[in-house]
Amino acid sequence: MMGLDPCAKCEEVLQPFLDRELSEAEHAAAEAHLDECSYCRKRYRFEEKLRMYVRQACAEQMRPELKAKLAALRTPII
């Protein structure tokens, strides 16, 4: 994007970057900027940690009783 401040451009691609949905060229461009910009690097690292934290917060295990109920729904082997 012509004329866009590199940090603004980097902020714009933060989500697809972490989702691994950027093209190779876009990914490389973002990485090159991150190599030299500690302002963006810090914010990317924060976002990565935030996602891990969200994942941990949502890592509720199912009760074994439910798993048993699901197994009981399977076709009986005759």
Binding site: A8, E11, E12, L14, Q15, P16, D19, E21, K42, R43, R45, F46, E47, K49, L50, R51, Y53, V54, R55, Q56, A57, C58, A59, E60, Q61, M62, R63, L66, K67, K69, L70, A71, L73, R74, T75, I77
Partner: protein, 195 residues
């Protein structure tokens, strides 16, 4: 009775049974992932358990509609999200005009300014895990479904589009807006806690 004779029929039945067992085993291996996603799609554990049971009952019943070699996870999660929609949990609509923060860096900037720390790890730890779960539950359904599939279910944009039967561009815009809503909730919660 088929004209192939009893022996061929028996072989076909046996191979059918083997395929079915394999299918059911693969579906069972995905149960933890299905539950984790279901748990965030609905408000309570009981509802999540019902939803998962219905999903499995339907998956086992309609196993023939799955084409071996295609994406089984996406197939199964599509059943889950469709059942969730059918269960009438869609009354909550996204507030179309809710003003949102302008950029993706704002949560970090807000928390950093608030805490005076520059350490990302410490800043993240200011958010409580319960707070995250609460914040996610406030995100409107349409946006939350996409966040949950991509961030918790680990699906690509393409898979999420297929599961929810929406264009990939819609996945991206909902994800974008949904994550902003989530961050806004987290920022508000952090400010309240700090106050």
């Amino acid at each position: 009775m088929s004209s192939n004779g009893p022996e061929t029929d028996a072989r076909r039945i046996a191979s059918d049974a083997r395929e079915r067992v394999r299918f059911e085993e693969e579906v069972m291996d995905l149960a933890d992932q299905v539950y984790r996603v279901a748990r965030r799609l609905v408000p309570t554990r009981e509802e999540a358990e019902d939803l998962v049971q219905e999903t499995y009952a339907r998956a086992f019943r309609s196993w023939r509609s799955y084409t071996p070699g295609t994406n089984l996870r996406a197939w199964l999660f599509r059943i889950l999200t469709n059942l969730n929609i059918d269960r009438g949990r869609r009354e909550q609509r996204a507030p179309a005009t809710q003003p949102l923060e302008e950029g993706d860096y704002f949560l970090y900037n807000r928390l950093e300014a608030d805490s005076g720390s520059e350490d990302e790890e410490r800043i993240v730890e200011r958010l409580s895990q319960d707070g995250i779960v609460d914040a996610l539950s406030v995100v409107p359904h349409d946006f939350r479904d996409v966040i949950v599939l991509v961030d918790i279910g680990d699906f690509t944009y393409q898979d999420a589009a297929q599961i929810l039967d929406i264009p990939i561009g819609t996945v991206m815009s909902r994800l974008h807006r949904g994550r902003r809503i989530l961050k806004q909730q987290l920022a508000e919660a952090a400010v309240q806690e700090g106050a």
